[in-house]
Amino acid sequence: MPLLPERARPEVDAPGESLVAAILGHGDRWPERIAIRTPRETISYGALAERIRLAAAKIRRAIGNPGQRVLLCGPNSPELVVAYFAVHAAGGVAVLLEADIPRETAGWIAHDAQARLALCSRELDLPIAVADLASWTSAGDDRPLESPQCGLQDPADLIYTTGTSGRRKGVLLAHENIAQAALNINAFVKTRHDDLEVMPLPLSHSFGLGRLRAMAQAGHCLLLLPGMRNPAAVLKQLLDVKAAGLALVPAGFDLILRMTRDRLGDARQHLRYIEIGSAAMPADTKQKLMELLPQTRICHHYGLTEASRAAFTEYHADRDHLASIGQPGPNVSMAVRDEAGHDLGDGQAGEIVVRGGMVMQEYWMQPELTYETLRGGWLHTGDLGYRDADGYYYLTGRQSDVVNVGGRKVSPEEVEQALNKHPAVVESACVGAADPQGVLGECLKACVVLRREVRDEQLIEWLRQRVEEHKIPRIWQRVEKIAKTPSGKIQRHLM
């Protein structure tokens, strides 16, 4: 593989300790420093470490042996942060679920992960022990677990991501993977321990969780917000607290710019960095951000759950390569390969492969898929693209049918299965399409064959009982038939 040209790629060491060890260390060294803020409360590193140690003792007793999976389900909150690191300290493996996950999906994950315990902020009827997240992470009279019961090679997180067939895949990450990812991210973004960062992304999502891990490594403060439902409220918080950092998906910036016009520019004096990810940003939005925030490091990552962040661009520094996904991040190698596994030269399109200490261990209980994906020590991303002569990578497509809706992956098959159960639907096909409002990048378009007329709102209502809101198609089309191959596979490119 040809050497990449030198760009400001900082050297990054291998991690010397797990993230939970790092965060407990911050608590011991700087107990007064603020770790987590919400609109209602403030928690210091000292208090956070104490709560992690107490919750870890309780979790350790409940799971017995190390390596047991613990489901965590709830919206962004200090309790969820405590639980996440307490599971690690107890030697367990954290399995984060979306706060609004349908019960059926949570049940499937509990079964697939063979989880021992679930800590939830809402009632979830699961076939395993379920306990209240808040009460297990508040102060108690147990003896705290002083030292983390995990090594760098031990499994830390099992993250379920959308698979091509509608079945979710469990991505198993070791403590060294997530610690390396945090070091890499902080080296590029240049997060400092005295930064206050606004973080509205869900911690159950790989991007949001990555920001929490980065905080554990850097020792800065996260202002956790409940989400992006009210985009103007996120900007108001950012301005009110004069935040130094912000993490957001491209759709979030688009919404803020549409709803508050140029007010983001009011943050130019204090906003040192932004991390953007999970989807592509339209070129005009990139230009607008650069214009409004001329001094801010605007860092856009390319990544995937299996490999955290792989490549980065910083809009100002990479202004001549804004259409690219950037160059490999610190401590990361990338290449483009053909189907036979040979490296391709500059300008030749193939599959993008990634290597580095942040790459996952395996797909949980799927050895064949793991073997296919981690061939030769390289993670095969399934994304198609090429590298230019300056060492920048460009995406041209992907091998799977998964649709990226505003930064969240959706399997068309999952939505089709739910839709096909509606009494008025004969069959359906869902495909990715440009979001007509231009916010989400891609959205889902549903083509439906009906046996009787039914309004879009009725089908939407049906889906709302069965899948998460972002999976609901935004474009509806009635068709006579679904295009299929002779073997019955939907020909999505024809829909």
Binding site: G227, M228, R229, N230, P231, A232, A233, L235, K236, A251, G252, L255, R258, M259, T260, R263, Q437, V439, L440, R455, D456, E457, Q458, I460, E461, R464, E469, H470, I472
Partner: protein, 77 residues
């Protein structure tokens, strides 16, 4: 005006006709009231009532009752 506010919610959140809007409802009570739904609601209200919201007003649009109050105040101005 009451019907027009409810109609704006129905259109912005893609609600079925039978879904009843009540003043006490907030984000969690109305399906589809996510960030896109919120943007659509603002657009819908601005277009129906011929008004425009600034950032602080949009921040305050966090319940049906709050929406009704802001719309009434701005429409009367």
């Amino acid at each position: 005006m009451t019907d027009a506010v409810a109609a704006a919610f129905h259109k912005a959140m893609r609600l079925k006709d039978s879904f009843a809007i009540a003043d006490s409802m907030s984000f969690d009570d109305i399906p589809g009231w996510d960030s896109i739904g919120h943007m659509n609601l603002v657009t819908e209200l601005e277009s129906r009532f011929g008004i425009s919201f600034d950032m602080d007003e949009i921040v305050g649009l966090d319940s049906v009752g709050a929406v009704r109050a802001v719309v009434a105040r701005k429409s009367a101005a």
